[in-house]
Amino acid sequence: MKSPYNDAEVIALDGVSKRYFLNPQRMGELKTALLHLPTFLKASRARQEFWALRDVSLTIRRGEAVGIVGPNGAGKSTLLRIVSRLAPLTKGKLTVRGRVSPLLELGAGFHPQISGRENAILNAVLLGLSRKEAKEKLGEIAAFSELGDFIDQPMRTYSSGMYVRLGFAVAVHVRPEILLVDEVLAVGDAEFQRKCFDHIEKLRQDKVTIVLVTHDLESVKRFCDRAVLLNHGVVAAEGKPREVVDEYLSRHFEFSASPTSRGDS
């Protein structure tokens, strides 16, 4: 499907900040709250702020593949959660144009008691297809996931590999315009992993925008057009994947010229 936003900015973050509270004020159990009312009120006033993202501005154009790198807790996953609208922002402005398919956790929302087929349809609709489109795509999804006759079995009979395969198959077959990938490709056997990467490569040729969060720096260098280094919720570097990765390595591992990074093709 042709998107009307050729080469347009499909994701734009403008001064986006995200605050969490370290001990979020939860009513939790009513009993605890009532029995310890004074401490409860004091605790809720003294809650500690944590800024997962601070004033992040970033634009991503249609068809770009952008890698997000950074140490644990840098805000990478928060960024993806914000773009997929799972986390509301505290400050700033976010514009997203096009259907977002989050590969955050595969098969979220699959129900063990109903069949793979029904789960796949419901999941595809959750990700943005209409029921009719989902039914049309089912053949491709079933073929890609290599489930065979298992597609009509309740999902409690599935192995974890089958579960993930179906999840991935649905996520990439909903004709996403923006694909958010968060470390999920480290699942399944080697052959299926390659198949997933091949498919993502194909989507990329179809001008699907891809945002990749990973600790696998080699794949960022090999696969992405651009990379962003996050550190403590701030954009610390942005640019060519190779340079950003080198910057990351030199900052965090005190390697001056990244001797560990092998020559890439």
């Binding site: 979020p24 009513l30 959660r81 799972l86 929302g109 419901l122 209409s130």
Partner: protein, 274 residues
């Protein structure tokens, strides 16, 4: 430039809203169908439970109330008809609220991973229970016919009208309860008890006139009283709901507005609370 941007924005808004509406509808259908399917899955009777359960419940009540306590319909209708004409709509009401209460908290993994119109979750509890309610109507009709109560053409207007009022009321209450329950899980247990209380406060197992004589117009403060009475008048006496149904309509509007506001306000906090 600015004009072009505005135009494309408008185009986008149109595409989104229409497609979005259709998709939300599809989602609601699929979610409700899943809930209907899961309810009695892996039971021997399976789908028959949809009809068997209200019928068995009616038998229990009929035994306790009619045989033991000797409660009678002042209108002279057979007790089973008197009871079921109110109990079936009430069951839709009660089970919708009970199942919707945990609909956000039970679907935490889904809510944390995918963004979709979330109000679909509590709403699908209401629609799947509506489905069960509609399926219980043939039982009622068969029993009515057995006692020579022939449903009149008023049903064609009255039934959808009452369904609409009760649906809007339930949609609001379901959103309200489900949203609060994310932060206060005690609510889903509290609701169970409160619904039992509400059942006894509502003229379902006893006639409205029995309490109206003693309490006067106060009984109408319970919006379900007028709604249940309207169901009973329609099913038993083919009477269309009159103006005295206003407490139910007013409550439906209030519940809907309150549910909407509470859901919109709390939705942003779901990600940290779930």
């Amino acid at each position: 430039m600015a004009a072009a941007w505005t135009a494309s924005y408008r185009q986008l808004a149109e595409r989104l809203s229409l497609a979005q509406l259709a998709r939300t509808w599809d989602l609601l259908l699929l979610m409700s169908a899943r809930e209907v399917k899961l309810r009695y899955q892996e039971t021997v009777l399976g789908f028959l439970w949809t009809m068997a359960k209200p019928l068995l419940l009616a038998l229990v009540f009929a035994f306790a109330l009619n045989y033991v306590l000797r409660i009678k319909d002042p209108g002279g209708a057979p007790f089973v008809l008197f009871l079921l004409s109110a109990l079936f709509p009430w069951t839709w009401f009660q089970s919708s609220i009970q199942f919707s209460a945990a609909s956000f908290s039970n679907n935490a993994p889904l809510l944390k991973k995918v963004y979709f119109p979330r109000f679909v979750l509590p709403l699908s509890a209401v629609t799947s229970q509506l489905f069960h309610f509609v399926l219980s109507i043939p039982i009622l009709v068969v029993l009515l016919l057995a006692w020579d109560y022939v449903p009149g053409p008023q049903w064609l207007l009255g039934f959808p009208l009452l369904v609409a009022i009760q649906f809007l009321m339930l949609a609001g209450l379901a959103l309200l309860v489900a949203s609060f329950n994310v932060f206060l899980r005690d609510l889903e247990h509290l609701v169970e008890v409160l619904m039992m209380l509400w059942l006894y406060l509502t003229p379902i197992i006893y006639p409205l006139s029995a309490v109206e004589a003693r309490l006067g117009k106060v009984v109408y403060l319970n919006p379900m009283a007028s709604l249940i009475q309207a169901w009973r008048d329609l099913f038993l006496y083919d009477q269309l709901p009159g103006l005295d149904i206003w407490p139910a309509v007013a409550f439906a509007v209030v519940a809907l507005v309150a549910g909407h506001i509470v859901f919109r306000t709390l939705e942003g906090q779901f990600e940290v609370a779930l």
